[in-house]
Amino acid sequence: MKAAEGLPYALARMCVQLYPREFRDRFADELLQTCRDGMRQHASLHFWLDTFSDLIPSVLREQAEQARLNMKATNIFKGFGFLLIVLWVAILAASLGIAYLGWGIPDPMLLMLGESFSSLEMALFDGLIVFGPFLALLAFLGPSLRVRFDRSQRSMEIRVLPIGRFSALMAVFSGLISLAIFAIFIVSRM
């Protein structure tokens, strides 16, 4: 930074650093060049007040938009799936620990439902144990599935779009647990 560009320009540079990284990488140089162009023509307090009163709301707008994009449905689904799997593994580990290792921790079912619970609450808890991993599998795979019906051909096409490594690993993990639960269910019926 040249000394002649002064404190307001240094503040503008700092302000630009507050934009989301993607915006900064693409527009920071241009934006600062525009400030320099303006500074050459109107080096006044009024110019800088106008510039900052525009830059600050703009930073907030771009950050809010970035946050909204990060909160998109795919991430909500992934978060739901992850929560289900973590809860399921924690309940299983705690139950096995209490039953076989003599862990002195509260029973997870009593911890979640309390001492007295209705049959609906009990059914929901059982549902979580039996279907939790399968729901997690759907949550990880669902946003990447594209289903297309072709009425003229009377056909249905299911495509799995590329998914991230984390989602793929979690989907495989959830799928294996679901298969194990399904196998236990079949064997117990035989």
Partner: protein, 114 residues
């Protein structure tokens, strides 16, 4: 239900209008918009580049490949160009404003000397 596109924001409208007669860089767009609006639209760099980001994503403008005079220009400046889609959006907005102006005129709300 209508298929009319949503009205453009003042910043987007003036950026498209500024680019309608040739490629321009950011500061030149700001100056042109100020002149077009008779000094009413004082667009700051944050609003300008926020709008440019969205307009690039929507295909209303594109980055111009060549610079008008590279020897005289700072290479940090990028020039922007209106696309066919941007020209269509500008025309639709101009027609919307013209229709609104005609309606206001028929109601004697504008166009009369008081």
């Amino acid at each position: 239900m209508t298929n009319d596109p949503a009205p453009l924001t003042p910043a987007v409208f003036h950026i498209l209008l500024a680019l309608s007669d040739g490629d321009k860089h950011g500061y030149r767009i700001m100056q042109t918009a100020l002149a077009q609006s008779n000094g009413r639209l004082r667009m700051g760099p944050g609003t300008l580049y926020g709008s440019i980001k969205r307009m690039l994503a929507d295909g209303l403008i594109e980055e111009a490949g060549e610079r008008p005079d590279p020897a005289l220009d700072d290479e940090r400046r990028r020039y922007y160009r209106i696309t066919a889609q941007g020209r269509g959006a500008l025309r639709a907005e101009a027609e919307r404003i013209a229709a609104l102006a005609a309606q206001l005129q028929s109601l004697h709300l504008i166009g009369e000397n008081k």
